[in-house]
Amino acid sequence: MKASHVSVPAWVTIGVVPVVNIAMALFLSGLIILLIGENPIDAVQLIFIGAFGYDEAIGYTLYYTTNFIFTGLAVAIAFHAMLFNIGGEGQAYIGGLGIGLAILAFDHTLPFWLMLPIMLSAGALFGAAWAFIPAWAQAYRGSHIVITTIMFNFIASALMVYLLVNVLVEPGNMSPETREFLPSGHLPFMHEVFAWFGIAITKSPLNISIFWALICCVLLWFYIWRTRWGYALRTVGHSERAAVYAGIRPQRVIVITMCISGALAGFVGINELAGVQHRLLLNFTAGYGFTGIAVSLMGRNHPLGIVLASLLFGILYQGGAELAFEMPKISREMVVTIQGLVILFSGALAYMSEPWVARAYTFVALGLTQQRAGEA
């Protein structure tokens, strides 16, 4: 019997293949934990207890998730236009600079409800500006966006060190940080929001920016699949030449898409600075921009997938901290390793498992039809 008699339905390639890929990444991670000399099953258990065991842990998990949604969406929208934005880290960093500057400028005079739109626009504007230059260079000067966004991550990092050490540092402060924001520049924490309704939950860094992250998911879904700009964006992603014939200017699409991408990455600062740290400081992005790449690949560049992948990485980050505490031989960087493996298997080797899954499906499907034929 030839395998070609059965065609593989879409749910297998969309649903099963990604799960197989993640499973391979997690299996290898388990092998590494075995190599270190710990029990991977115990480790998984500790991660889940650490991520969901008590309500403070859930708060932390969702707080990490918020960051990953922002950076994941940033990578995803660029992917739809076949642009690879590795610069999420730098865009988040500079977006945070914009948010910090806006809050420092206005928190004496304006109330919170006026601060909120200012913060959001500042983060979006600065993040978009940092993505604009590589986008412009790609669209109009023919330089490669991957290389330029890598370079811009380093330039952002140097710029922030210079600004925080020499310009923005609070006089008399030993560490390079700005003064603390006034309360009008703070986002309400979730435990505060719950307290308004008389529900007591434990303090955690989770704040209302998670709602903004979810709103961004919906807006982005609408933009990509329900507007003409989204249509243009996807057309450019499929074929730049076809887009030209359809009357779309790819250059403009590239620049607009990258600016949206940078703006989304810039919102990390809303969660981190206005939400949790309440001051501008060094390295608050902590690699979230790179995690966004894993999140986007894992979530197949779809907002729903990105929320799920962000949640998984939120669990890994929070649970990983707990794991490092309980099993001192496994450090927090295990999460970074897993992240690398996820990018490898669901990104670079995404098509490796497809023929195997197809063969397995064919085998099962043929078996079922033969069985049915036998019964009849």
Partner: protein, 324 residues
């Protein structure tokens, strides 16, 4: 006068030391990218090489064994990159990034699990390292005016791997431009169909390109942990792999200009360290971060076509599909 001359020479000496891993990684990247495979995983391979060399040297006490295992490890990473990009036609940037992130996590995880020193490997004895080599008559010739100090301060007194890096440049030049293999390697990066039509394996050539890339990265990694320093420290590659990538692009994918870019970036770094906190009259303190960011800024400006034009190999980044 003599003092400032010595200052210049010492800066050059430091620049050479900083440039060594850059030169090796840039040559590595060149071999891979000339075959049509983008390699942003230079950074990860550099870090992996440093970790393996530091670990093996600490355990066995042999610098040579450490160098060899580091090269094997990075070659394996290169083969993984090849497996994803050449065999499975995966996205080359994604694969490179995956290697970088994976290595950045794994080196710390294994380092802490094996040595429990916060990610650092134990300090090495002199015997387990590549130590500075004094050239013959270095001290005697110091007295020779002008040229003597250059010989003593700049050329002499480096460890073996510095000279290996300098030798790698003419070697890569010879391989890429003067051998049959090099001709084919360049061809496969420009027009793989033509190479395939001539009956030469595109896959084979590209695998050889990335393999050589991996071996050179291993030497660069070993340089960091067992020659320049006496142990592996977490994240010790600190973006040098990316600077090397920038230098290779700055050199327009050619060995000698890439060497020039590496030396220039090395010099910038050496100057930045020396200028830390120095006040210049009428200008104020020099922003060291600006000098450190210059390699990246210059590369962006170059890529935007404002300093000449950097043209990548034509088939770079495109997986080769035989049946069309």
């Amino acid at each position: 006068m003599a003092e400032s001359y010595t200052f210049v020479l010492l800066t050059l000496d430091a620049a050479l030391r900083v440039a060594t891993p850059l030169v090796l990684c840039a040559m590595a990247g060149l071999l891979s990218e000339r075959s049509g495979i983008i390699d942003i995983s230079l950074e990860g391979k550099l870090l992996a090489g440093a970790f393996v060399a530091g670990t093996v040297a600490a355990v066995t006490g042999s610098a040579w064994l450490a160098l060899l295992t580091a090269m094997v490890a990075t070659a394996l990473l290169s083969l993984l990159h090849g497996f994803a990009c050449i065999t499975h036609r995966g996205n080359q940037v994604v694969s490179g990034l995956a290697i970088n992130i994976m290595v950045s996590g794994l080196t710390v995880v294994l380092g802490i699990a094996w040595f429990a020193r916060g990610g650092q490997t134990p300090s090495l004895q002199a015997a387990a390292r590549f130590m500075p080599i004094e050239f013959p008559l270095a001290e005697t010739l110091r007295a020779v005016p002008v040229l003597g100090p250059i010989y003593t301060e700049v050329l002499s007194g480096h460890n073996l791997l510095v000279y290996v890096a300098l030798a790698a440049v003419p070697f890569v030049y010879w391989v890429v431009y003067k051998t049959r293999f090099g001709l084919r390697l360049r061809a496969v990066g420009e027009n793989p169909q033509a190479v395939d039509t001539a009956g030469i394996s595109v896959t084979g050539l590209r695998y050889r390109g990335v393999l050589m890339c991996g071996l050179l990265c291993g030497i660069a990694g070993a340089y960091l942990s067992i020659a320049q320093n006496a142990s592996f420290v977490r994240e010790m590659s600190a973006g040098q792999g990316y600077i090397a990538l920038a230098a290779m692009i700055f050199g327009k994918w050619r060995p000698l200009p890439a060497l020039g870019a590496c030396l220039m970036f090395g010099l910038l770094d050496a100057i930045a360290i020396r200028l830390q906190g120095v006040e210049i009259e009428g200008f104020g303190e020099v922003p060291v971060q600006l000098i450190q960011a210059l390699p990246y800024i210059m590369t962006v400006v170059l890529l935007a076509g404002f300093i000449g034009k950097a043209v990548a190999p034509k088939a770079i980044g495109i997986p080769y599909v035989k049946e069309r």
